[in-house]
Structures are given as C-alpha cells and as structure tokens.
Symmetry: C2
Subunit: 202 residues, 2 copies
C-alpha cells in the first residue's frame, strides 16, 4: 500500500490470470448518473419507415462533424440502418408528451406503423424526421459500424442538420425524474437500472 496524494491509500485491484482487473466495487446505479439527451432515431428500407427512442446519440469528432448512436440489434431501426446506411436523429424538447415517447420507445415498428398520425418529413437521406416535438434534427450517413455485442454503434458523417426551435431539450434524467419515464428492455441502460435499483429504446 502506498500513500497517494497524502490523503488516500492506493488500492489497485487484483488481476485474473488473463490480466483482467477484478475486485472493484460494482454499484451500477453510478451509470444512471451519466448524462444523455432524448432522441427519436429514424431510418427506412424501401417503402418502410421507422423510428425509435434512443438516448445515446453523441458527437464524436468535429472535423468532419460526426455522430454515433448505439442501437439494439433486435430493433427494426437497426435492420433499416444496416440496409440503407443512413439515419436521422430528432432531438426532443422537454415538453414532449410521455405518450409520444411511449409510442416510439415501447413498441416495435414490426407490430404497427408508429408513424401513422404523426407528422414527419423525409430528410435528404430519405430517413424520417420527427418534427412534432423536435427542437433540432440531424441526418447522417454511416461510415463505420462497431459490433458491441447486443448493440451496434453506428458512426455517421453529418449530411444535414437544422435547429427547429429554441425550446429546452429533454435530458434523459428529466425524462426519468420529472416525467417518471421508464426504460424499455432493449436499451443500453436497461439492466443497470434494474440491477441498480430502476429500464430504454424500442
């Protein structure tokens, strides 16, 4: 044990025979402290359009402007992005009704047409932009897809983006704390919430 910083004791973990770290405290509630926005990620294939709620859309480089999104392999939107290599992300504002989020987050596009009775616009990529509750949107062309087990991270170069309103955007935390929203089973954060002590996509 070595004194570090004059205050704390070094406590490097043990290593397995393969050299992996083991023996760390594991409170998955910590993952709920990560910050996200709330988005509807859209894509299409042929005449079929779909969109799903996602919280993991983030900019990864500025030159060129590039974003990434983590999508569950079971989802119809995953199938569409794989096929057409394009996606949109509509950035939801804080006043988005729970029913709207539920429509896109807790149902599969395989079971019913989520876009019926909603307003959308086809973007330059052909992906639907969900304008009913979007403060902004972006469209991207996939340049890489990264297999991360249950999900694929799609990395995309921005080909279009626009601000639609100056409304405050919804955070994932606001959705949970204020809107009392839940997390679907196919979300990156599903198990963390269940295990830690709370469930997202569709």
């Amino acid at each position: 044990m070595t004194v570090v910083c004059g205050l704390f004791l070094e406590r490097h973990g043990d290593r397995t025979s393969e050299g992996h770290v083991t023996g760390g405290k594991m409170n998955l509630k910590a993952l709920q402290k990560l910050g996200y926005g709330m988005y509807i990620v859209g894509s299409y294939q042929g005449d079929r359009l779909n969109g799903q709620v996602a919280n993991t859309v983030f900019q990864i480089t500025s030159e060129p402007p590039t974003v990434a999104v983590s999508i569950n392999k079971k989802n119809l939107t995953h199938e569409f992005i794989k096929a057409t290599r394009v996606f949109s992300a509509s950035i939801l504002h804080e006043a988005t009704p729970l029913t709207y989020i539920g429509r896109f987050g807790f149902w599969s596009g395989r079971d019913f047409d989520k876009l019926k009775d909603t307003n959308y616009q086809r973007g330059v990529t052909g992906a639907p932009i969900f304008i009913d509750h979007a403060a902004a949107y972006l469209e991207a062309e996939v340049t890489q897809d990264v297999d991360v087990g249950t999900h694929t991270i799609f990395i995309g170069k921005i080909v279009a983006s626009e601000v639609l309103s100056e409304d405050v955007c919804m955070t994932y935390d606001y959705y949970h704390q204020v809107k009392r929203g839940k997390t679907p089973e196919n979300a990156p954060s599903y198990i963390a919430e269940n295990k830690g002590g709370t469930k997202q996509d569709g």
Copy 2:
C-alpha cells in the same frame, strides 16, 4: 415529388457519383442541442497520472455493462489509455467550480501536473478517480478502440463503479448556459460551436 403524411413534401437529397447524400441544410448549431454530462476521464502510465474533461461518456450495452468515450488523439490521456487499456470517468456534480473544470479541460498534463493540490484516489484499475466534485465514478477496461479520425472511441467493460453523493450532475448544457463555460480546441464539439455560433477536452 411525393406527398408524405398528407402534410410534407418528400425532399430526398441528391447523390454524388459515389452515392453519397448531398444538398442537405447544414446548421451545425443543431449539434449543440445534443445532451451530455460532464466528466473527468483519467488514466495512467507508469508513475504518471492524468485526467481531462470530456463530455462524451455513455453507456452502450447493459449486458455486460459497457461504456464508450471519445478522446482526442493529441491528448495525454489518449496516450495513457492506449498504453494501459484502462480509464476512469468521474461524473461531475452541478456545483463543480469553473476553475476546476478549467484545470482539467484547458491545460495539457504534458505542461504541468494537473493532479497537484487535488484529491484523487487510485481505483482498482490504477486510474485516478477525481473525488473533489464527483457524484459518482466508473472504471473500465478497454475492449475495443475505434479510430474515428481526430479521435479514438474507447469502448470499455465496467470493472468498478460507485455513487458518491446524490448531488445533481452537471450537464454540458448547464456548463455552457449557466456556468458560461467554453470548449477547448481538442473537443468533439469544438468546430461545431465555432462554426455554428460558440468551443471542449484537454
């Protein structure tokens, strides 16, 4: 032109000879609407420790619990993560002083010891955990690194995580709007802000 949804006109973009989408509206201010938290990402190499501000830490799968972070290749923390294949993320609370963020965000660990006079603890991975203003932390072992040009996305399996307080966590938007924080040149969102109408890491 086809009528879609009874309200909007289809406006698929043109394609280049290589098949890429072109002709989309490009207002990069839209990227500023994406939601993030505020983190200090730490790593080490030999006796040297470092940490840098990052806004792109996000959970990508729940089973196993996996996170990703986008780090500029020029940064010392990038060099350390490449070398030791581990990183920590300390999740900052809303009351974190701008001077603290500035120390880790606007300076390089190559120029001075950022950890001097701050409280940190070595985690099970050996990476420093910055406990002065963290509501929670996580530690990860890198399982994949994805080259995305100026940055690398490090994908890591969580090996430790803990909640330190119930303080509200800082969002990137709060940092900009309320704290009037700026964005360093090596951040994923740097150019977007400059071009769009505003500058992050270190």
